[in-house]
Subunit: 238 residues, 2 copies
């Protein structure tokens, strides 16, 4: 068997604009992508449909959707019956850990990606986390990613038998939302296929008022790029 | 609300004799136990039934069985269609990483336990890993557990907001199987309720020939304790 021509990466793909951009950046540097999405009891499936569209756009080798019942663990507005906050100012978002934080979510997702990566002989886990806009999430910080990388190398064959080490590639870590939008646009992403809203009012629409929508809007505005998103709060205008 | 009277722990409970003993040791030191088991596409459900019996014996506050499709990830004789090795000598087991190794399994399990622990306000993850008999598994080594502990403290509210830190309690780490059997017996475990076999031939029986059965047999023999297990290889005698 000839070795794979391109280094393989497992991309954590939510269907939002961050993971789409992170994936496009990994592809641009030459990675062969395998995408992994999670059906974890989100209150809506719009994300997973978006993930499918983004996977097709990125031309991933395989897109795995893994079902995992994070609702059973509870503790978050995204998986439990808590209200998603609306209309918060950026200063409000930055304060403390938001109720939309799902306990240990990135640790769980990275662990599953790691298992798949080991089977695929992939050396990189690609994750679209961002330390600027999500400073409230403990598992979006650089020190968390470094700690996970270390654990990954202890947890696997590579850690025992030597050889290739695992790398966590988080190219958006220190970028602003505007920079992410600009980079994604440069790499040809049609952002209308992505989905960011925590609480979509109806199919095909973003609420325009949750933290995620507000950050998304702000990103396009500051990047000076037309926002193709259909917000339920719009009245015919952008 | 009054604070919980005992420190809470999440126990990873497979239903084997190791996790049963680790749980009994945590209980003996005063922990209030929450048990977590995984239905991860094992080729049989005997383990999960044993986990239910052990949870009842330990008097856990709650027993969660989480479904997670590790088969989709593949790469192991325990989840894929590979043969479980039989009749191997201990020297053979110790060499290299066994085919029964499930990629990143303990990382995935500990991550999910961590998410639940954060929701429960539990500070300890209890795991019955053993570095002596399972030296071939990268994620049963002390350096892996230390790395995970560090990740856990980075990944969670505790890591950002300060306060109580997560501890991984792995009391069997440096014990021989004989010592584990002796300790479990001392703590009153009826080992006939536990299940260790990777490849049970029929309900209520252990094959007696896979690595896990061979280690189990050896443990009872060396501890000088009667082995209550029904092995399919026995012919009426112990």
């Amino acid at each position: 068997m000839t070795p794979p021509p391109r280094p393989r990466s497992v991309l954590l793909l939510s269907g939002g604009l961050d993971s789409a951009t992170a994936g496009a950046m990994a592809r641009a540097r030459g990675d062969e992508l395998f995408a992994m999405s999670f059906d974890y009891g989100q209150r809506h499936h719009a994300e997973l449909e978006a993930a499918g569209r983004v996977a097709a756009f990125l031309g991933v080798k395989r897109h795995m959707v893994m079902r995992i019942d994070l609702c059973a663990i509870g503790g978050s507005a995204l998986t439990a019956d808590l209200a998603v906050p609306k209309d918060r100012a950026p200063e409000g978002m930055a304060r403390g850990i938001p109720v939309t934080y799902v306990p240990a979510r990135n640790t769980v997702f990275l662990s599953l990606a790691l298992g798949w990566a080991e089977t695929l002989d992939a050396g990189t886990l690609v994750i679209g986390v961002n330390a600027l806009d999500y400073s409230g999430y403990p598992d979006c910080r650089p020190e968390f990613l470094r700690a996970f990388e270390q654990t990954a190398n202890m947890a696997t064959r590579a850690g025992v038998e030597g050889g290739r080490r695992f790398e966590v590639f988080a190219p958006l870590l220190h970028m602003s939302k505007a920079q992410i939008v600009a980079e994604g646009a440069r790499l040809g992403i049609d952002f209308s296929i992505t989905h960011s809203c925590y609480d979509p009012p109806r199919e095909g629409f973003h609420c325009g008022r949750c933290d995620s929508c507000l950050l998304r809007k702000k990103g396009f505005r500051e990047a000076g790029i037309v926002d193709p998103t259909r917000y339920a709060t719009d009245h015919g205008s952008q």
